[in-house]
Point group: C2
Chain length 591, copies 2
């Protein structure tokens, strides 16, 4: 309560972790990501001949004079009442920081001068009781609640929208609940509050020689609760599984009360409650704690890379490896030819030239090939044995071994890409990613059609579309696409929307999921509605009706398209003619 | 329609597979199971000093003059209307055969002279359209539908009960839908209609060198749809996973329409619909087809057995093996000291003496030890490598290697136990099993308390209670209890009920599940209600409301206790003083 500000004072003590992760960017950009961003932007121009222009401000400009936001619609009485339950922030800085996620439209909007929408207050409970109290207050007073963890949603999961455009919205920050509550060494599980971030969770486990093994690209910022709410998958999902495999028990604070799903290793009694909460994206309530399966921290990590003649060959080699079942690497990552060529031609030589040895030289000499990166972990003997089996397998199917360096370079730079995006956006580039999952037999068509959809939207030859498979299963894989384009100034959002529409149609046509790991949010709600059967939606609505009868929790996400004319992405007022790309990036303040 | 009988004719052409699996028994008892049953019954008397009496008839007697059942409550018009949709059987033989499962109370009831309840008709569709039509007819005419696959439920899942005692009940036999619809070799999945039985499914896959790898004890009779509806686990779940891991897609015919859950390897889009249908036990509708993950059939099976000084040591060795993560046997089965001692002292020497070698001699010499059986499968090299790692692991933790024979003997007799139960029941023994799942840290208390509950109910020293862990997970295991007792004649059901009540209280107290693999049915509905959180039940009811709004599908199972005074097990009219146990079994017709 000491933290609560007087209504309208506008001098909120913003939580340091929020200040650090500034609104218009992924986070404070490290030097290496600045270099990478410039290299990729320059490479884009080399490949496409396009020189992007930007119609919004740079990150630094937006940082210096942030976009304006509407005033809070919660009156003083309401703020005071909430402040009696938990810490409340109502100043512009706080409300702005909690009103955008990290999707391209979010970062684009943050570079504008005016946001159309913002949450009306940020509530930051320090205990589960405070959280439950704040939720109950919101439900009682017909205020929508948007749970916020790391704030890294790339699907509009944080959009501050209510059931109607008039309903006030509270962003409920869960990161004040970040305690390790219990480690059950016998059962190999650990219980954490849901607001714990990746590094803190791993530090707590690491002191006991344990690991969760969940390393999504957002690892530095994102939280356990967010991972569960979106069915997150980490880079080593092949070894540790996806969130649904890791989560042994959980607690959900819902408007109807607290739902405690107790720890069971497996069961044969009715439907699975965990699997209803996993992926619910805050629409049923807020995950407040979870019991996670934890493993012994591996002693060794071994790196390998292979170059195949084509993506088809690389994909099939990876598929056969997983389907054999007797080789268990921690990660197999298969880039298509376009991604391989683009990355080899940009980031690798500039940033890492000379350090990567013969394998990289071979890689750079090749054209049209597809790169496969492999991590093998475990005990020293296990990692070595796995690597040997992988090596024999890949070799027998035409993979040329490139040594460890390409995978090692990827590993050490694996959190860098989102920061580099900020730099590329400053250059006027539209840089976005999207992902889906699909069975192996449907994958080739999906790969072709999603690529065609993006090229159709931005113009073939005028955009760069690369893809990789980063999560492999016996019966299929996730496909992760990255696309770079130089949209027409002041038509960026429209062009992005048209591209997404075309991609969604392609995914639905090819039997892909609305998401493999990023969730649905507002951005994929249309795709979700078209890929989940009608009766399935009905079933989920039946659940929602019982747990959140007034639809107070994250309305307009997942199960419903945003109502009452609320757009699925925050509007932006562009700054026309803000400047053309400087390919050398010389003008940019890289600090 | 040619199959439909005139109403009341009583001369139904009973399906041969139903005739083969006779109502009072698990199936036609093979000679070896007769020997085993006698050996176990004799051993029971040796150990406890109890000489069971029976108050019901033998299997053969009940077979010769089956229990009477009430007349069908469906009038001629209704039967004719149903017969226009699908084959209908209304004779006593058919209705009796579909009104009981294979629980101890079911088999006990079948040995009586009169069943209190029976289904009013058996409908056996040949196509999905017929099934959907029959279901729609029942919903429209307020008739309850009990889906029946292999009929092997041991939890009262087939009890012919309606929403009220007055509501007519149709048993809907799914085994007419048993086609292999598709094998997708690239994605490693195969699609079957849900009525396919284990052997037929494996034959279809085997011709392509594939296997599902699902081998529950009921394998010979039970069906894919039943496995999914009860979250079945097979003996090699450690390699192939439980039903929820195997099921990639499914179709549910529900009163609200057909719910088609498409094939995805994994997804990050909302809750998981598969996980709502898995375990739903026919309460949401009827599973009509499913797409299953299939694997390459292993080339080799290797057998190993280890004797530990105590169950604690054996359990911990098994736990550590699973938690290491780098050794992947197909099965690790850990018997407690009581089960080890009882089995060693009965079945092994009589049936297999002389054939099992030094390991078995060691086993028989030991007292108080706990037996661990291990199967390692895969390619020849893989199976051998796995076995070597298991051997080193078990040895390092105090396990004495017994050679392959004990596991091999178990393997070849693994379907025999339920048949032997029929023989033991003829001798007047109460023989039943129960199972649950629990975390490793809660397992010791649960093991003790369930055992204490059973010994408390039947009298310590007057019953035999053994347990084994047959399904192991990183964070826990299933615990499977077998108990033998000589109940007071004519009080068998009451004593059984009292024992179950005590066990259920112990399981709930110790944080176990209502079931790991057998399901809930009517028999565990009270335990389910006490172990699933209230809001979880609410959530499932919300789903049921949308898919089966009038509660036509399997009422009184899973989510609801049977209403309107309907008992949870079929009543039985005993035959007083039917005879005492003949320990040598000389009087029994073993054919």
């Amino acid at each position: 309560m000491a933290n609560a500000t007087a209504a309208g004072s506008g001098v909120d003590p913003l939580a340091p972790e929020v200040r650090a992760q500034r609104v218009a960017s992924w986070g404070p950009v490290p030097d290496r990501a600045v270099h990478l961003g410039h290299a990729l932007a320059a490479r884009f121009t080399t490949v496409t001949g396009e020189r992007p222009e930007r119609s919004v401000r740079t990150f630094a400009e937006a940082e210096a004079r942030p976009a304006t936001i509407p005033g809070s619609r919660l009156d003083g009485g309401a703020r005071d009442a909430l402040a009696r339950i938990a810490a409340v922030h109502t100043g512009d800085d706080a409300r702005r920081a909690y009103s955008l996620g990290k999707s391209w439209p979010d970062l684009f909007a943050a570079r504008g001068t005016e946001l159309e929408r913002a949450c009306d207050a940020v509530v930051r409970p320090r205990t589960e009781a405070e959280l439950e109290g704040a939720l109950a207050w919101c439900v009682e007073h017909d205020v929508a609640v948007v749970p916020v963890g790391g704030g890294t949603s790339v699907t509009g999961g944080l959009e501050p929208i209510g059931r109607t455009a008039a309903q006030p919205v509270v962003a409920l920050d869960v990161t004040g609940l970040a305690t390790c509550l219990d480690i059950d060494h016998v059962s190999g599980v650990a219980t954490f509050q849901a607001g714990v971030r990746g590094p803190d969770l791993e530090r707590a486990l690491g002191s006991f020689g344990l690991t969760l093994g969940h390393v999504p690209q957002s690892f530095e910022y994102s939280t356990l609760g967010g991972w569960i709410a979106t069915r997150s998958a980490g880079q080593q999902s092949l070894r540790y599984g996806k969130m649904e495999a890791m989560t042994a028990a959980l607690r959900l604070a819902s408007p109807a009360g607290v739902l405690d799903v107790d720890h069971l290793p497996a069961h044969g009694a009715g439907g699975d409650l965990r699997e209803l909460v996993l992926g619910s994206e805050g629409t049923l309530g807020i995950v407040t704690r979870a019991t996670m399966r934890v493993r012994r921290r591996p002693d060794a990590v071994r790196f390998a890379a292979y170059l195949f003649g084509s993506f088809d060959d690389a994909r099939d080699a990876a598929r056969r490896l997983v389907q054999r079942g007797d080789i268990k690497p921690a990660m197999v990552r298969v880039s298509d030819a376009a991604e391989t060529a683009f990355n080899v031609g940009s980031s690798v030589p500039k940033v890492l030239a000379g350090r990567l040895g013969r394998g990289v030289a071979q890689l750079m000499g090749a054209r049209g090939g597809a790169l496969v990166l492999v991590l093998s972990t475990g005990t020293v003997a296990e990692a070595r044995a796995t690597e040997r089996l992988v090596d024999r397998h890949m070799g027998s199917l035409g993979g040329r071994a490139l040594g460890g360096m390409p995978a090692k370079a990827w590993y050490h730079g694996r959190f860098r890409q989102p920061y580099a995006r900020d730099v590329m956006m400053d250059a006027g580039l539209l840089v976005d990613t999207l992902e889906t999952s699909v069975s192996w037999s449907r994958l080739p068509a999906l790969h072709l059609q999603v690529r065609a959809a993006l090229e159709g939207a931005f113009g073939a030859g005028r955009c760069v579309v690369g893809a990789h498979l980063s999560h492999l299963y016996h019966d299929g894989a996730s496909a992760y696409f990255t696309f770079l384009a130089a949209p027409t100034a002041e038509r960026e959002l429209e062009e992005w929307r048209a591209a997404k529409r075309a991609v969604h149609a392609a995914i639905a046509r090819c039997g892909g999921s609305a998401s493999h790991q990023h969730g649905v949010g507002t951005m994929h709600a249309d795709l979700y509605a078209s890929t989940v059967p009608r009766l399935g939606m009905e079933a989920f609505r039946g659940v929602q009706e019982r747990l959140d009868p007034t639809n107070a929790c994250n309305p307009g996400k997942l199960l419903e398209l945003p109502a009452d004319g609320q757009r699925t992405v925050n509007a932006v007022r562009p700054v026309p003619g803000a400047g053309a790309l400087d390919p050398e990036g010389a003008q940019r303040d890289g600090s």
